[in-house]
Amino acid sequence: MLQQLEGSRAVAETVARCRPEVVCAYPISPQTHIIEALGAMVKDGRLAPCEFINVESEYAAMSVSIGASAAGARTYTATASQGLLFMIEAVYNAAGLGLPVVMTLANRAIGAPINIWNDHSDAMAVRDAGWIQLFAETNQEAADLHVQAFRLAEALSVPVMVCMDGFILTHAVEAVDLIDQAVVDSFLPPYEPRQVLDPDDPVSIGAMVGPEAFEEVRYLAHLRQLDALELIPSVAEEFAALTGRASGGLLHPYRLEDAETVIVAMGSVLGTIKDAVDARREAGERVGVLGVAAFRPFPIAAVADALHGARRVIVVEKAFSLGMGGVLATDVATASPASGPDLATVVAGLGGRPITRRDVEGVLERSARGTLPRLSFLNLDEDVVARERARMAASRRSGPFAENVLRDVATGGARR
């Protein structure tokens, strides 16, 4: 039934319909509304049988998830930002052990400087952990992806992270068609673990693996990710057949037919970019958008195929690798043939800075004029940067640079 819901509520309701047996979490903005709702559902008996555990840290949240999943329970948790980093050792461990935990990541920037707003730095920090990482464009997709996530995770014995933009999606109230319990039950069979802690059939899990076998074990984990490249589209198709909704899959192409310029992006900013593309299309420009829905495993072949024919590719991404440049862009470059399109990276939306349709149209204009550099930062206030650089050159004790920048911005040194 279509309802006007907060994104977090839609996710919580959907997760509950997936019948998790253990839910644990440590509160962190902007994930809190999701786990609060699930905690209430367990407490009032709506979600049963299920254990809700409010632990003392994210490290414990992922560790409890590991124990619960290894004991055969369908397990869910959620986090964001610093919380993901605090649990990162266990994030790698869950994947290494092949435990199908599903986690919502309410994407948020990573400090210092501390910042509670949205970008994708957190998801990028764990891209090599061995988790499947799916990015939601809307709250509808965020909700739907959780059903698919449990299915994928349990089929492959790989944990899945559903990434949804913090605040922009988690706190947005919009129409979501909540999936029926019966549909979930038909789509998501009971969890049959490949390995389980069972006194009746005891196994040892988590032994030390030396050089004689480590590479093979890691390669098997890689193969499971490659299997996911096959399974993600088929699960999405099956989901679409049941619900009529095109949620999930590897890629979300939009107006790519005959497109000479293609913007590649992930998450909720795709909506704004589509509006910009429609506007430029009306002006007669051949532009399109490629939304990357599955970031890990990265669909190299599908991206290469989608970008075939594009002359210019612009990756707009909400994270970057310091001292290097775009993260998504690097993967897109890997997927592009050597003689392929001109590739530009636009780092945008860091720490919650808005990305507007006007901004995106500006990027497209610069690209068409050939003035878009290979790497640029959207709406970067060069004056503020220059001021701090000058301060650093003038004085050894120039002070804390984030606070200096804040002072400059507050006193009108910046545009915003």
């Binding site: 299920c50 490290y59 124990g67 004991a71 050792e89 006194p199 030390m208």
Partner: protein, 332 residues
């Protein structure tokens, strides 16, 4: 005529050997039906106190639960020496995840079992002192605070032996480790630091806290079985001498554990809901020197002119334990 105290013939000590006991009072290890939870063939050092303690504790837990047990292990010696794959010494369901998260993982296993209606399956978490008092303390305190249904066992050998004998927050003052060398005016580990985990556990008011040593395996087994009669968080702290890390003879493991208890340096007691309910009183009180001398990690206290001042401070610690828990022998 000199009076000779009776030593029981089997073990040459005051401990009562199995053969003098009724069947019901015999150790779990005396039974051919024991699980051998930690089976032979593991790679522990000769005289390893941890292997001894873990085998007794887990077999007792298996007996107490009728074999309905899952064990979660922190990274450390016990984890490494028990699973030289493709071999494993574990004949029980066993999971190792990370160094600092065994308590939380155990909580997860217990939660899964509860959600699945398998309340009969009980969970033991286990770690060395590093995984308990240092890197695992946050998750352990969380387990205690939530009163999760887990028995957590710390096998305390007073340092990071797996990585080459470094200091932990359970290393006693003056003990030499690779990060507290016997150098300078204050040789070895410093005074005034470290964590008394059993008392910290008691401060959480959990149902059951106990300490034990591998010198009294009857007592260890009894405490495991007692712990299994409670639901909620339980904590068992077992002193397990490490021949390698302590610089002691492999044959002295049990003797050193006994001397630790008999000197009062390691108090053996149990507590329920934050209140001490029982102590294992000292039978024949010995000075700490008798405990310290056989260990090379304390050799600097006795070399040359020695450091009687430091030995006296260690004796004061033991005396304080005896006072605090009422450990003095009956005849004193």
């Amino acid at each position: 005529m000199t009076e000779t105290r009776v030593h029981f013939y089997q073990v040459g000590s005051f401990a009562v050997g199995n053969r003098l006991l009724s069947d019901a009072d015999r150790t779990v290890q005396a039974s051919p039906e024991r699980t051998n939870s930690l089976d032979a063939g593991h790679r522990a050092c000769q005289g390893c106190g941890e292997a001894l303690g873990a085998r007794y504790a887990l077999d007792a837990a298996m007996r107490a639960t009728g074999g309905r047990l899952v064990a979660v292990n922190a990274t450390g010696c016990l984890e490494v020496f028990s699973t030289p794959f493709p071999e494993t010494s574990w004949r029980i369901a066993w999971l190792h995840s990370l160094f600092g998260n065994a308590p939380a993982v155990a909580t997860g296993v217990a939660a899964a079992m509860r959600a699945k209606g398998r309340d009969d399956v009980r969970v033991v978490g286990q770690a060395g002192d590093g995984g308990t008092v240092d890197i695992g303390f946050g998750t352990l305190s969380g387990l205690f605070e939530r009163n999760d249904d887990v028995l957590f066992i710390c096998y305390d050998n007073e340092g990071y032996m797996n990585t080459g004998v470094q200091r932990s927050a359970a290393t006693p003052p003056t003990a030499r480790t690779a990060t507290s060398e016997a150098l300078g005016a204050d040789p070895g580990n410093v005074f005034g630091q470290g964590k008394d985990l059993p008392r910290l556990a008691m401060a959480h008011d959990i149902p059951y806290v106990a300490t034990a040593t591998v010198a009294d395996l009857h007592d260890l087994e009894r405490k495991v079985e007692r712990a299994m009669t409670f639901r909620g968080a339980r904590y068992l702290h077992v002193l397990v001498p490490c021949p390698l890390g302590w610089g002691a003879a492999s044959a002295d493991t049990v003797r050193l554990a006994r001397l630790a208890a008999e000197s009062g340096f390691f108090p053996v007691f149990e507590a329920e809901h934050g209140v001490v309910t029982g102590v294992r009183r000292i039978r024949r009180r010995v000075g700490v020197e008798e405990y310290l001398r056989p260990q090379r990690r304390f050799a600097h206290l006795f070399a040359g002119e020695g450091r009687p001042d430091l030995v006296a401070r260690l004796q004061a610690l033991a005396d304080a334990n005896i006072q605090r828990y009422g450990l003095a022998p009956e005849e004193e």
